[in-house]
């Protein structure tokens, strides 16, 4: 007797609601070949609005050990946000090495071909979490979104929650505090300003900000 797809779907639903973490592939594979695509669609229809199960501790621990979840958790705390996890993922999907992506960016953004090495170096630093995502220019994000075939909004979100640098602490009060605050602002602006000399368009794209 052929397996009943309605029953397979129902078994999947019961396993999901019970927090047993059913594998959709496994359940779809139980059906006869012609029934598999409709069964998969029914499972997706259920999952779109299924209640989230009440997972037990073991299940939650297993979920938190998944590589994707670990990457997401690390991104929440790291200054580089999601970039170190997301960019290599997107590159792999697009079958581009860092060098190839740099070359494509240089072309797409109309940069001088001799800027390719510097662009690659910046991309590597972005993947290593060494760059502050707020420094990435909008034009760069547009270019990356186009080349990596991903919505720009995803790249905007990759910067994390915008953790601000720790505020300066000082004890002055009243007018003295205001004076000191002004001085500190000037100092902060000076530190954040681009260095002279070698600063070029590539630096502007990766560190200049202004989305």
């Amino acid at each position: 007797m052929p397996p009943d797809p309605d029953r397979i779907l129902s078994d999947f639903i019961d396993a999901w609601n019970a927090g047993r973490r059913p594998d959709a592939d496994d359940y779809v594979g139980r059906a006869d070949e012609p029934d598999r695509a409709p069964l998969a669609s029914d499972i997706v229809a259920f999952l779109a609005f299924a209640p989230t199960p009440e997972y037990d501790d073991a299940a939650l621990e297993a979920i938190r050990a998944e590589p994707a979840v670990l990457a997401g958790a690390a991104a929440t705390r790291a200054p580089g946000g999601l970039w170190p996890s997301l960019l290599p993922q997107l590159r792999r999907r697009a079958s581009l090495s860092t060098g190839q992506l740099a070359a494509a960016l240089v072309g797409a953004l109309g940069l001088s071909p001799d800027r390719e090495a510097k662009t690659r170096d910046y991309l590597e630093r972005l993947e290593a979490g060494e760059l502050e995502p707020r420094g990435l220019a909008g034009r760069l994000l547009d270019g990356l979104a186009r080349l990596l075939e991903v919505p720009r909004t995803v790249l905007d979100g990759a910067g994390g929650f915008g953790t601000a640098p720790a505020p300066a602490l000082f004890r002055a009060e009243g007018p003295r505090a205001e004076e000191l605050r002004d001085d500190l602002d000037v100092l902060a602006d000076a530190l954040a300003a681009p260095a002279g000399g070698d600063w070029d368009e590539v630096d502007e794209l990766f560190r200049g900000g202004d989305r």
């Binding site: 009943d4 129902s10 639903i13 609601n17 199960p53 991104a75 929440t76 929650f161």
Partner: protein, 221 residues
């Protein structure tokens, strides 16, 4: 830390954002994403293009990872306040990630006469459930008192699905969907509660889901 339900996490996320506690908002969003990891992963596994083919088995894991990271990225600017809206956004994000993942593979199919349909604007927010969300919101706004009562808020946590189930015309399907989605009863318990056979439960669940899907995807009227 104990498992917190999605609607409470979403509420805490918005409270933290509103009060400028970004670090806390990020941690809460991370928990919300964790809670929904299996949903994301299994939607990728069961995802099918028009024509019935799914992602290659070797790509499903990578697609799920990318989809999960996209959902984490969504937390930087998520504005909706209800779990149903959150789930619709998760579904849309995962669906688009799967389409993007299979894009290369499908290019030659499209050239060969197939189509890569259902692609929403890459930067747009349109999704298959938008019309249902709009109708649901419109109906919800008509009851002002509801917004003031905490009990009503709790009931609304599963709002969109609950609203959709209430629109299912067939009483038998609706009863099975309510017991499945809202009370999380298994098939045997539903059969027992309704006094029907297991085969009937299986059939009504599937047919009810099909009808619910139609309601939630129906164009705006």
């Amino acid at each position: 830390m104990p498992d917190e339900p999605d609607h409470l996490l979403l509420r805490r996320y918005h409270a933290a954002r509103q009060e400028g506690r970004d670090d806390e908002a990020a941690r809460v969003w991370e928990r919300l994403a964790e809670n929904n990891f299996d949903r994301i992963k299994q939607i990728c596994s069961a995802f099918r293009y028009t024509g019935g083919t799914g992602l290659p088995a070797t790509e499903t894991g990578s697609a799920a990872t990318e989809a999960y990271l996209r959902v984490v990225a969504m937390g930087r600017s998520f504005r909706e306040r209800e779990v149903g809206q959150f789930r619709a956004a998760v579904y849309r994000t995962v669906h688009n990630a799967c389409l993007d993942y299979g894009r290369k593979e499908l290019r030659h199919q499209r050239r060969a006469g197939g189509s890569l349909d259902e692609r929403y604007e890459p930067d747009g927010d349109a999704g298959p459930y938008d019309a249902a969300l709009a109708r649901y919101e419109a109906e919800r706004r008509t009851d002002v008192r509801e917004a003031l009562e905490d009990e009503a808020r709790r009931r609304r946590a599963e709002g969109l699905a609950r609203w959709g189930i209430a629109q299912v015309r067939n009483d038998n399907y609706r009863a099975v969907l309510e017991l499945t989605h809202l009370e999380k009863l298994d098939a045997a318990a539903i059969a027992d509660r309704l006094g029907i056979s297991l085969d009937n439960v299986y059939q009504r669940r599937r047919r009810g889901l099909t009808e619910l899907e139609k309601i939630l995807r129906a164009p705006r009227s």
